[in-house]
Symmetry: C2
Subunit: 199 residues, 2 copies
Amino acid sequence: MNTKDRILETALSMFSEHGYDPVSIRDICGAVGIKESTVYYHFKNKQDILDSLFIRFEEHVDSLLKVLHSPDAWNHSQSPSFGWIDTYFFDQYLLDPFCNRMMRLMLIEQLHNKEIQQKYSRWLFEEPYRIEMSVFETLSQLGIMSKESSEQTGKGFYAYITMLVFKYLLNGKLTARKKNAFCEEAHSYIASSFGFWEG
Amino acid sequence: MNTKDRILETALSMFSEHGYDPVSIRDICGAVGIKESTVYYHFKNKQDILDSLFIRFEEHVDSLLKVLHSPDAWNHSQSPSFGWIDTYFFDQYLLDPFCNRMMRLMLIEQLHNKEIQQKYSRWLFEEPYRIEMSVFETLSQLGIMSKESSEQTGKGFYAYITMLVFKYLLNGKLTARKKNAFCEEAHSYIASSFGFWEG
DNA sequence: TTGACATTCTAACGATTGTTAGATATAATG
DNA sequence: CATTATATCTAACAATCGTTAGAATGTCAA
């Protein structure tokens, strides 16, 4: 991996753990194994590192969203399924190491950074809401649920997953134990609430 | 208010917005209107300010919990009610300015501070879960709900409130708009899910 | 008024911060 | 080989950090 990417990866790893301000350029350089001035060859300043991380993240999730909303994503079963949510929404977004770190970073910085607060609202609440609700909307279109019931059930599902995200995926260090707890409790909720469908 | 209390209040206000490290002793002193060295007359060091805040918070919520679990709290209706949740759990905990600031502080610091991470888990997940579930446990004891149904419904309720807390009460600055959104959506959820009871 | 104590001040310390100028090394091009 | 461009280095800067010693106040009892 080239130096620029190593700086970005190390910076994200440290920012997501301690926040932006508490991590110094020297901290990052020490971990990467370069001198401070080298950073300024690749980036305009410290803020530029943060900006670059968000550019990469939004490219990443934009391409992810395109896949999600393309017909292919829904092909392996004729209707949207919780297997689909597992593969795309859980594994490639909520549980993905890069995305998880970016969410931690947004979580720390949102309280005092207005720009990041907007990104935080979008990527932790609005887009997940859209994605999860689209599943239940399809369910009502397919006649599996009534429109009102699908909306109510969708909101309940969204709230439960959101709670699990904050409780397990954005609470202290992300350990294998917490990942498992998230998956187990999510699947247990799905099983007990939607056992009638795609058992 | 005496100087020590003014330091604590100002520090909490700034810590909860920016986090512990980014706020300097000089920032706090500038806002209070004193010189830096005065802080060290009242506190051992910067960390001591943070520790004092947590001591005050835990004293505050401990006394709150005592009230919650005392018979008096349940007296104004023969069964636990959502009005009770409104008065004690919402107004005096989740929406209380002091508690809200402490929760923000814990939210920021928990990702890299192991001690605070434990407090965060306790005061944002475990205790709220206990409090909310105790309501539904009573419901099943009173025969209003079956044991299984009360547990499932309780978890759904807890998840929904937790989601609303993160979405509205710990997302950027706490405005009147967000407070209202929290209350409205919570009450709307209660109404649509539990309209059968205490309409 | 004097003395004792509580409270706040002035002024500085060593360490760390983001950033920069300019030298040095490495690699590619003629 | 000489030249140019790319990449990393050394070494320092002004500013800010938490913290401290000691002088200057204010308050109240003797």
